[in-house]
């Protein structure tokens, strides 16, 4: 398999990268039930569809965390909160186009509509995975041919791709304030530091927030009550490939990046950043570096 025109993504269609498992819910279902679907299937959004297949909208994890913050009852029907129309592409579209759309619109997934209905979804992890898949199989792949030595040939590292800032809170902060930070900044997760403010001891993600919502946790509790631990992190000079492998295995959208030791958090690397950069497999082509 060889990339055409020197660009891996140009040769890949949406159909080759999409996941066919689309998580759906009925408008009559409660928010609590929707959260269970998000947790069980590890998805950031659920399509709200009527029995005949008519789509009423998409509800994201961020939307649900917002409902938690403003105190919406857990038994509220999904039909009442279903909002934005899903952004769709066609299975035959180029993956590159889908990625550009996601980056332009600041969204995390595009649904795939085959003309009759929504049959799949493409998110950043799917795109990164597809790039990895095609790079590994590509005949021009320097990594597979043994021509590439990561240290000598300047593989992309976590530092090259990360956002050089870390949003955080303290273990003793009130959950409600941390939720505000998450929602206002539209960020996926906060690093949670110990009371000295030096050592990261956990992560507060949107996933943690929606689970707390479903469990009826009062927003007055401290962040320590619901944060996840340990902190998933990598070193700045770790290769992007190794970092992606960790993220894909651990099912996380982002990983914290430290300089020498965990106490020195230097940034955050998200799958969005990784997709924007490249698969990290090799530099035989300059695929996504221009996206």
């Amino acid at each position: 398999m060889t990339a055409s025109k020197g660009n891996v993504l140009s040769s890949v269609t949406v159909a080759e990268a999409m996941r066919r498992q689309v998580v759906r819910c009925d408008p009559e279902e409660s928010i609590a039930r929707c959260i269970a679907r998000m947790v069980k299937y590890k998805t950031g959004a659920v399509l709200v569809e009527e029995e005949g297949g008519a789509c009423l909208g998409v509800v994201s994890k961020t939307d649900v965390a917002g409902m938690y913050y403003v105190g919406v009852e857990l038994d509220t029907r999904m039909g009442e909160i279903a909002g934005g129309e899903p952004l769709c592409c066609h299975p035959g579209d180029r993956l590159e186009t889908a990625l550009a759309t996601m980056l332009d619109r600041g969204i995390r997934r595009v649904y795939v509509h085959d003309g009759e209905g929504i049959t799949g979804v493409v998110g950043y992890a799917d795109i990164v995975g597809a790039m990895y898949h095609f790079c590994i199989q590509c005949r021009r792949n320097l990594y597979g041919s043994g021509k590439l030595r990561p240290e000598a040939d300047g593989w992309l590292t976590a530092e090259d791709v990360m956002h050089p800032s870390v949003m955080g809170c303290s273990t003793s902060d009130v959950l409600q304030h941390a939720l505000e930070t998450l929602l206002e900044g539209r960020i996926g997760a906060l690093a949670v530091f110990d009371d000295s403010g030096q050592k990261p001891v956990g992560v507060l993600s949107m996933s943690d927030a929606v689970v707390a919502y479903r469990h009826g946790v009062d927003q007055g509790v401290s962040v320590e009550r619901i944060m996840s631990a340990p902190v998933l992190a990598c070193e700045m000079n770790d290769s992007l490939t190794a970092t992606l492998r960790t993220m894909i295995f651990a099912d996380v959208q982002r990983i914290f990046v430290y300089n020498t030791r965990l106490e020195n958090l230097a940034g955050v690397l998200s799958l969005t950043d990784a997709a924007r950069a490249r698969s990290g497999a090799c530099k035989a082509c300059r695929v996504a570096s221009r996206l």
Binding site: V39, A242, T246, F249
Partner: protein, 155 residues
Amino acid sequence: MELTAKDVMRTDYHVLAPDMPLSEAISLFRRASLEESRRVFGMPVVDSSGRLAGMLSMYDILLYVRPKHIRVWGEMEEELPEGLFDASLERLRSLWVEDLMTPDVLIIAPETHILRIIDIMIKKHVRRIPVVREERILGVVYISDVFYQVLQRFL
């Protein structure tokens, strides 16, 4: 053969509560297998008012443990960093039974004929079906009990 669900169902089964921490439920799987002298792969979830709320199976838990993008990970050649799998499992600690259980459960009435039960088990690929009346669980029919009840006539 006039066997029905009430003739083959077991009443010595363990149940889970929706708000039970998953770590407790996982321990209960092992204990239930020992106490029921058979392998327990799934258990009914019953709420505080005694209503059947769902079923939690080992499959539900393993589905969560499995990386979502396992297809991609399978192509990666190098070994995983030490401790990563353990760190990943830690996420189970914050979850309750109701977060992973299957809430839409196939149920049968005590009067359901055993051939109908066989048909449901084959078509729906289920190995256990709760026997329910007025939302209350009365017992559980297991495929192994159905198998031996039906086929002992053949021996």
